[in-house]
Symmetry: D2
Subunit: 210 residues, 4 copies
């Protein structure tokens, strides 16, 4: 019996489906995470490219969109425990070239931008309140890394009462093993996981979201 059978036998992995009002969350697609010599590698650049299509789809529908990037204070005054484990995170300051959005998937005017220090887009950022105030109940998730900030954000999206839909070809990781292991866990326990084509087919393309 393989891992998937074990979860199936215990009745994990049910499909939750979409709610009434979807939004889009794009996590940490910044220069440093798109660079194999910095925080990137693996299938991250492929996920960035595919997210261009996802953004086009979401913008055409008028879907609310939020983007995150990691920003530490210039003087490191807000560094915490995470920087003991991964010290170079502190280098991602407001103006650091590595911390800027990849131009192809950068936020447009009116889209939400969340600065964060920790993996989850929701941990102590106020994002859930902003999204709830806009009536969003479902969150399509793209970004990187799958085993890091995407996974943490997906879990917290669920905990805050959103239905998380992970766009499997719009998320990436610097190594494929952790990428696949996290997609498995997310799909079994916390989110619906599907490629962008299925998301588009599910939502349809002929009606705007209120």
């Amino acid at each position: 019996m393989d891992d998937k059978d074990i979860f199936k036998r215990q009745n994990f992995g049910r499909k939750m489906g979409f709610g009434q009002s979807p939004g889009l969350l794009v996590i940490d697609f910044t220069v440093g995470f798109n660079d194999p010599d910095s925080f990137g590698g693996g299938n991250i650049s492929a996920a960035v490219n595919r997210t261009v299509d996802l953004l086009t789809f979401a913008r055409a529908r008028g879907m609310p969109i939020a983007h995150t990037r990691i920003v530490y204070a210039d003087d490191g005054s807000d560094a915490g425990i995470h920087c003991l484990k991964v010290p170079k995170l502190k280098g991602l300051t407001e103006a650091s070239p590595l911390g800027q959005f990849v131009p192809e998937v950068a936020p447009r005017a009116g889209e939400i931008v969340v600065r964060k220090r920790l993996p989850s887009a929701f941990f102590e950022t106020g994002l859930h309140g902003i999204l709830h105030a806009r009536g969003i109940d479902t969150l399509i998730i793209a970004g990187c890394t799958t085993s890091g900030c995407v996974r943490a954000s997906t879990l917290d999206a669920m905990c805050h009462g959103f239905r998380p839909i992970v766009a499997s070809d719009c998320v990436g990781d610097r190594a494929i093993g952790p990428h696949e292991a996290s997609l498995f866990d997310l799909g079994q326990k916390y989110a619906d996981v599907m490629p962008l084509d299925d998301i588009i087919a599910t939502l349809g393309t002929d009606r705007a979201v209120a």
Copy 2:
């Protein structure tokens, strides 16, 4: 280059070390998670057995100890998105046999008991405030499942400013693939991961914790 090399080359996986004042967190070692026909299986029962030794060590030192279990309302009124994905979680009510602590590792009088509905021991439980009010800065973590509640709790422990130390032989999962994948991720990014023997050797046995 394998996955570990990729993370090493990017300078992940630094050792954070212990702080001054450790506590112990034991996650979801309840009857249902110790039963392969319910939520259990894999190496969970082995982790329960090893945690008996960890608890003996922690109690002898007077270390503050917290235990968690999942508790939903009898009428399901507090069920959220997670129950769309894993509906049988709702069966873990206050008095359900599956939701009771495994006797060998059950809390003793004066130890903290946290009821939770979601994976993280910290998500909306107030646990971090209780631990901080006791001056704890380091958290040894045992319990199950490695890829579920242990991982989520370890991440949040780090986010709340604790140094998380995962006791690798005191955590378990219903399937070994997700167990090993999560230990890898945790050790690279969020926590120090080591077997109980190393934790005991590091803390020593001849002095009490203040």
Copy 3:
């Protein structure tokens, strides 16, 4: 120029209005808070009586309803800083007579019950996720005390993205000075404040809430 003029001149106190999907939150109407010799007094008992009407209205409309009460562990293991300031809070345990709901306004089957240790109904209780998962965007608030748990919960309701509507004759405090001061602050900065009759008139009585 009195206090109200100062706030008006600075353009505080705007009316926010109701959203599409209201819920009801009833805070800490327990035996101890209804007893002037315990935590009660002032206009709390009058607010309890008026909340009977509010519950009748909300139940007739099928409005989701949540109730809170304070519950500490029997052995005091989860006491924090608040208990240094108000030690007798620790006596409100699961089975303590003072901690039980006042029968006239007690929860019915299917209504949400939140156990909390701290003033806000939202602080580390997961309540916001439960309410958001049900699509609630507006929260009518009753309970006690106005300057304590009602105020803290109203502020957090706003922060979590709900529109808080304080039912001014359904909230009470052990002393009238703090009651009135907090109603003023809430109405200027965080919530719409209005008597139950106005809430009923605004929502109408001839249609059910989805």
Copy 4:
């Protein structure tokens, strides 16, 4: 029997005292809140002046110091419910003159700066994790407004496990009624409230904080 007697009879208002490791939190002393024609007035400017002395004391002792200011996105994309009630908050953007720190009490290099959108310095800002990671257990609080961001931050400091000490002559409000009402509530329920001279006398001046 006046309000104070009611609280005394119910055994509120106990003194909690200092812990081992104090920090300082200075809330929203920005140009707009120091200007009676913007968000200021009342005794706020007097509190700013007195906080110069508090900062001198804290810096001489090497006490960790955090400052907050309100910052909304330039395009208003992160505005929530609070802006329905107080729309002009949205004008406090990163570069707005009204949102800059008052020079006399501005942060120095290495001090923590928290950008926030909501009243509490702790609500979804990650501040508690930063402070806990530095071992702080007690938080001296200055800033404005007493009935708004100071009160909300003090309550949350307590909930997160810190001992809050409100410096009564270093906090101010645009109107004196709400200022005094909130100092009363804070001292009865959530914090020790004392003038700066008493804080200095309690901590002593001849030893550094570890």
